[in-house]
């Protein structure tokens, strides 16, 4: 299991990385934590002639508050996300989801940016980002631009990124104080992708749902934002009948593949189960 030969580049600035990636086009790939790309290279499913390692760019690391947002550098690892007090206090769903990604060794190197930019429907963070209405900051040949996570995913491994683009940071609006959240993931074993998973962020007011947002992982070619299900739940007390209707609406937008994780129908039902569990747990954590 030896990857194909490639030339290694280690730029020290985003500008330099963008220049290299633009120059190489389809012959170049950005290397973040490497825990999706290197396995693909070992299997020769990816054979980039040039590898542009983003690990030497200090600007791509770190977690900071910026007004009503938190900005997380793309090369921030899952391990860093789990250890962040700021995120634990303000956006705890990120820690909960990160703790369910792969295993400890992978989390030391696997990055948030790589997880969201790769476009793999099995990755956990994209659905969380749809749920949180995150924005991706991208540096490209034409300069900096921002794309909403909800507009970013086009198909399995197809995203809004173009040749020469580097995702530099993820910008997340801080959810309302007192909100409740949960990420529920069904997986066969440690390190596996989700059979199905659901992310929920909601606020409660006088026993009723004030706002609600739902993301679903690995039950379609892209992560899903379950807008209709969230609308059904808004204003309800999360009573059984309403939850049942919302779960049905969420299940209706799934289109999972039949694979080793189970038949498509099963995975759709598990998405519903994960959603109802996530709703219950998010509610139990919400104040108001």
């Amino acid at each position: 299991m030896i990857p194909g030969a490639f030339a290694y580049h280690r730029p020290s600035s985003v500008k330099e990385a963008v220049g290299l990636l633009a120059q190489f086009g389809d012959d170049g790939r950005a290397l973040a934590g490497g825990h999706s790309l290197i396995p693909m290279m070992k299997l020769r499913l990816a054979t980039p002639a040039n590898l542009v390692d983003l690990g030497g760019i200090a600007d791509l690391k770190g977690i900071r508050a910026d007004g009503n947002d938190i900005v997380i550098g793309a090369m921030t690892t899952q391990h860093d996300v789990i250890g962040s007090q700021l995120l634990g206090d303000k956006i705890p769903i990120l820690r909960e989801a990160s703790e369910q990604i792969a295993d400890p060794q992978v989390r030391y190197l696997g990055t948030l940016g790589g997880n969201v930019a790769n476009g793999d429907p099995g990755n956990d963070m994209p659905a969380v980002m749809l749920c949180l209405n995150a924005t991706y900051q991208i540096a490209g040949r034409a300069g900096e631009r921002r794309i909403a996570a909800r507009e970013f995913y086009q198909g399995a491994y197809f995203t809004a990124l173009e040749a020469g683009d580097v995702l530099t940071a993820v910008r997340i609006p801080i959810p309302a104080a007192g909100h409740g959240s949960a990420y529920e993931k069904l997986k066969r074993k440690v390190g596996d992708y989700a059979t199905a998973a659901a992310a929920v962020v909601l606020t409660m007011s006088g026993g009723k749902v004030g706002t609600c947002s739902i993301g679903l992982t690995n039950v379609a070619e892209t992560p899903l934002w379950a807008q209709e299900a969230a609308t059904i739940l808004t204003g309800s007390t999360l009573d059984a009948a309403t939850v049942k209707r919302a779960v049905a609406a969420a299940e209706a937008i799934t289109a999972p593949a039949t694979d080793a994780r189970g038949p498509a129908q099963y995975r759709t039902k598990m998405a519903g189960v994960m959603l109802s569990r996530a709703l219950a747990r998010a509610k139990s954590r919400a104040r108001g």
Partner: protein
């Protein structure tokens, strides 16, 4: 392809050499440096037998290129025993608690447990099991590995090890 010049510290010793960029860290350690403690179990990032400590992180050296470790500080099982030849508390724990049978996973287990105990001096059983969830053992059923790590934590903390009732 042009080779890359790398310098790194492995078990306290400085290594300076040339590597092909596609050389994985595990192959660099085993085949070029004759450091064969880190094992190749699955070669697919799953089993953790190749785990080494790199700059304060447990990493699967089959999923890191040697060039990425340029400038890094690496510790492998070869660097665990004390200078006088006595065993590290974790090695002692694995021996005393029968934390291995065939021994193939042990170098990775110990290196992972080393970093776990650096970050959490007194982990609960659940924290140990979660902390070593990236390392597979096909012999022991993990029970004695957990005990071995508890033994080492107790020894490092200077308290008596008490085996939990089963």
């Amino acid at each position: 392809m042009a080779k890359s010049h790398v310098t790194m510290t492995v078990n306290g010793k400085t290594i300076e050499t040339l590597v092909e960029p596609r050389t994985l860290l595990i192959h660099f350690l085993r085949d070029q440096q004759n450091i064969t403690g880190p094992h190749i179990g699955c070669e697919t990032s799953h089993c953790g037998a190749c785990t080494v400590d790199l700059d304060g992180k447990s990493v699967k050296s089959c999923t890191v290129f040697a060039v990425q470790a340029n400038g890094g500080d690496i510790r492998t099982i070869e660097g665990m025993a004390n200078a006088d030849g006595t065993l590290h508390a974790l090695q002692e724990g694995f021996r005393e608690m029968h934390g291995l049978q065939c021994g193939f996973c042990t170098p990775g287990m110990i290196m992972r447990a080393y970093r776990l105990l650096q970050e959490n001096k007194n982990p609960s059983e659940e924290e140990i099991r979660y902390g070593i969830s990236g390392n597979l053992c096909r012999c022991t059923g993990y029970q004695n590995i957990v005990k071995a790590i508890q033994f080492a934590a107790a020894k490092i903390n200077g308290v008596a090890f008490q085996e939990a009732a089963e």
